[in-house]
């Protein structure tokens, strides 16, 4: 306070803005270490909240992507053992509009040279590789004359990379085996061919399209319904085994994460509250001096509230940046894809931080305001 007179005039009127800010800045600068430790607590809490909320929102999508490696979750099958219309795949791709992957399959039972029946399937190898990532394949076929043989058919076709013949309805074809496929399921007993070569040989069109739709259970159901409408000649059904299992695991994971998020946010909020309350309580002398110098209750409350709001705001912004970084790191370390920052998380973190800070300021003030300044200043 430079001159007495100016102080007196200010005391009488509403507090001057520059004085107000000076008080605010000085309070922070003079007690640097206390202000920094309070701010640090705020930043840690806001960072934890941001990281957890970001993860909570993003992890569902990340895990759903992991579940896509289970392969098809919707299957279209031609009704009554017919084949699908020739434009079926195009219709499916148009309906999906990039939200999934569709792979056609055509099947016949052919006979080998010694008359053994074997299931031969025609498909699109490039798409199958993407859809059924669990297929353990020694070498993928690279030319139309090459086939992919299931491990259990190996003995049957007796191929040491040599050609073998298959016959279907009197038409035969010479093939070589590029490699074997092993899945532990029906694929092991089949021979796979590239679809154009298969169609040229057998004249049989695809009878099934396997579709891996990305998205939640509701989105999958919606796309299945749209597909059923677009292709009335086909039976469309979600693969309940996969869809239900996915929904179940994701649901449990979601609940676990939610419990974790609530726990962490609650703990950080309570710890920030206790730290800030200690800080404000510790400054009861400032409070008493202001009161003794005649500051109005409004001014004092305004001052402490503004201080708390600034602390909460700055802490939340810094914490948001740190938290986004932490979430991105967790995403990269675990899912090999960073968690995208969600700016929708910022407002709740900001408001929450400021609310906690204000609460931490108001509680001690409310406790102190009935106490005589003299009592506080005497150190009692």
């Amino acid at each position: 306070m430079s001159t007495r007179s100016s102080a007196e005039t200010r005391r009488a009127s509403a507090p001057h803005a520059s004085m107000f800010w000076r008080l605010l800045v000085r309070a922070a600068v003079r007690r640097r270490s206390r202000a920094i430790s309070a701010l640090l607590a705020m930043v840690v809490a806001a960072a934890a909240a941001t990281a957890m909320l970001n993860l909570y929102v993003d992890v569902q999508a990340k895990l759903r992507k992991e579940f896509r490696s289970y392969g098809a979750n919707v299957i279209l099958v031609a009704k009554d053992n017919q084949t699908l219309p020739s434009d079926a795949l195009r219709v499916v791709d148009a309906t999906l509009a990039g939200r999934g992957l569709a792979v056609p399959f055509a099947y016949v039972v052919a006979r080998t040279a010694d008359g053994q029946p074997v299931v031969v399937a025609g498909t699109d190898f490039d798409q199958v590789r993407k859809l059924d990532s669990w297929w353990s394949v020694t070498a993928w076929p690279s030319s139309p004359a090459q086939a992919l043989a299931g491990v259990r058919t190996e003995a049957l076709i007796n191929s040491q990379k040599g050609p073998f013949a298959l016959t279907f309805q009197g038409r035969s074809i010479q093939l070589t085996s590029a490699g074997t496929v092993k899945t532990g399921a029906a694929e092991d007993s089949r021979i796979y061919l590239d679809l154009p070569g298969f169609e040229a040989w057998t004249g049989v069109q695809p009878s099934a399209i396997e579709v891996a739709v990305s998205g939640s259970a509701e989105e999958v159901a919606a796309i299945a319904a749209a597909l059923a409408k677009a292709l009335p000649d086909a039976d469309v059904h979600p693969v309940r085994q996969i869809v239900e299992g996915q929904a179940r695991v994701l649901g449990k994971m979601r609940s676990t994460l939610l419990a974790t998020v609530v726990l962490i946010i609650l703990t950080s909020a309570l710890c920030v509250l206790s730290t800030l309350m200690g800080w404000v309580f510790d400054r009861r002398r400032d409070f008493a001096i202001m009161k003794a110098l005649g500051a109005s209750a409004r001014m004092i409350y305004g001052f402490f509230a503004a201080e708390a709001a600034v602390l909460g705001g700055v802490g939340a912004l810094l914490g948001f940046a740190v938290g986004v970084g932490a979430a991105a790191w967790i995403g990269r370390a675990n899912f090999h894809a960073p968690v995208v920052p969600r700016f929708g998380v910022l407002p709740p973190v900001l408001l929450g931080s400021m609310a906690v800070a204000l609460l931490a300021a108001i509680v001690p003030m409310w406790l102190l305001h009935r106490v005589e300044p003299a009592t506080i200043l005497r150190g009692e």
Binding site: F67, W134, G184, Q241, V249, K252, S268
Partner: protein, 418 residues
């Protein structure tokens, strides 16, 4: 004198000690709950993943090639080899039998019901009571195929009742409670089955009924086994034939899908067991992602509760600089002041740590019960570990504040200018 100082400090500053103690308790409780959940989540999610279906398939070793299209086997039922139903309970005698959640034998035959010719009839266990040695257990499709939904009742395994697939039921115009005739006998339809797959067009019957129609008592074509497995790593992917003795033992005693399949093959004569890669491979990926996520989240939670405890301790000590000033003015050395604070911090950490451990255990149990309908077990071994962490974190949080406190000039501290 020293114990008295500590004791009086706790007695006279109840509010502050309570605040600091509460912060430690809360931090430790969250840390304990998170550690417990994170260590148990793998097991819990593994069990949830089993709802996606069996991950190991056992077939006869000398079987002829299957002719399976769209889940329907076109191979004549009399063709090929069979497994013996009497060997099934031996699955419970394998090394990893505790990891085997359930298994379902399957036998498919063709029947004619009314106008519909060549309907596939699938014989299986629904919820069959079996005995291995002195141990009774229940197994069947209700465990291994949880997505099968029945409108009506499940048939009993020793009855002649059947389930009708929903599409077949619609085609024949039958519903649960009706009777259907095939194989020269009338059977009650206990319920209508919906699976979203090939079974919707089939009749599902108790295994012994299918065996009788086929005329081969004890015959089983395949066994679907649902086992809790460990995600495959470099060792799990290796071929056991190429392994040396010690390595082979390690592989054999790890619950990989491949090693459990290998043991099933040993237990059931003339069988070939293979992991169903679609299920087994993918559940490994999903499991390791979820475990990794929980580990990292737990680390983040530990870090933030450690920082929160540190901040609370720093505040608690900072408030007491007057006291420090007084002690130093009365001639106390830096060492004895620091010792007093550290003793208090240790007491707070131990008290708060024990309370927090108890609270965290309760919390973890609640989480387990609410989300997974099963207990999350807490290893008592965790207690000393958690206490040690609590003491270290509290000391670390106090150290800076204590250093500052003992460096104050007592004069300034007492005048309240610090």
């Amino acid at each position: 004198m020293f114990p008295r100082l500590v004791f009086e400090s706790f007695r006279r500053q109840k509010r502050r000690k309570l605040l600091a103690g509460a912060a430690i308790t809360l931090g430790v409780a969250v840390a304990t709950a998170m550690i417990a959940v994170a260590t148990d989540i793998g097991d819990k999610i593994n069990r949830e993943l089993r709802t996606i279906g069996a991950n190991i398939l056992v077939t006869p070793q000398e079987d002829t090639l299957d002719l399976e299209i769209g889940g329907v086997n076109l191979k004549p039922p009399s063709d090929g080899a069979y497994l013996d139903e009497a060997d099934l309970p031996k699955i419970r005698g394998t090394f990893w039998h505790h990891n085997i959640v359930g298994f379902s034998p399957m036998l498919q035959v063709g029947v004619t019901a009314g106008d519909a010719k060549n309907i596939a009839l699938l014989g299986t266990y629904f919820s069959k009571q079996l005995r291995f040695g002195k141990e009774d257990f229940v197994t069947g499709v209700r465990i291994t195929h949880p997505w099968w939904k029945v409108d009506g009742d499940w048939p009993a395994d020793d009855s002649q009742d059947v389930l009708l697939g929903e599409r077949l039921a619609a085609r024949l115009g039958l519903k649960s409670g009706d009777r259907v005739e095939f194989g020269g006998q009338e059977h009650r339809i206990a319920g209508v089955l919906s699976t979203g797959a090939a079974e919707d067009d089939q009749i599902i019957a108790p295994l012994n009924l299918a065996q009788r129609i086929l005329g081969k008592p004890g015959a089983v074509r395949r066994i679907y086994v649902s086992a809790l497995t460990k995600p495959e790593d470099a060792l799990g992917r290796r071929d056991p034939k190429t392994m040396s003795g010690a390595l082979y033992d390690r592989w054999y005693c790890s619950p990989y899908a491949s090693s459990i399949a290998y043991q099933l093959q040993e237990a059931i004569p003339h069988s070939h067991a293979e992991q169903i890669r679609q299920i087994a491979q993918n559940e490994g990926t999903v499991l390791s992602r979820i475990e990794g996520l929980m580990l990292l989240v737990t680390l983040a939670a530990l870090l933030s509760s450690a920082l929160a405890v540190s901040a609370a301790m720093a505040t608690a000590i900072f408030e007491r600089r007057h006291e420090v000033g007084l002690m130093k003015a009365l001639g106390a050395g830096n060492l004895s002041v620091a010792a007093l604070f550290f003793a208090e911090a240790a007491l707070l950490a131990l008290g708060g740590g024990i309370l927090g451990f108890a609270g965290g255990s309760l919390l973890a149990r609640q989480i387990g019960r609410a989300i997974f309908d099963s207990q999350i077990t807490i290893e008592p071994v965790l207690l000393p570990l958690v206490l040690a962490i609590a003491v270290i974190v509290t000391f670390a949080g106090s150290a800076v504040a204590i250093r500052r406190a003992v460096k104050f000039d007592p004069v300034y501290a007492l005048r309240g200018e610090a």
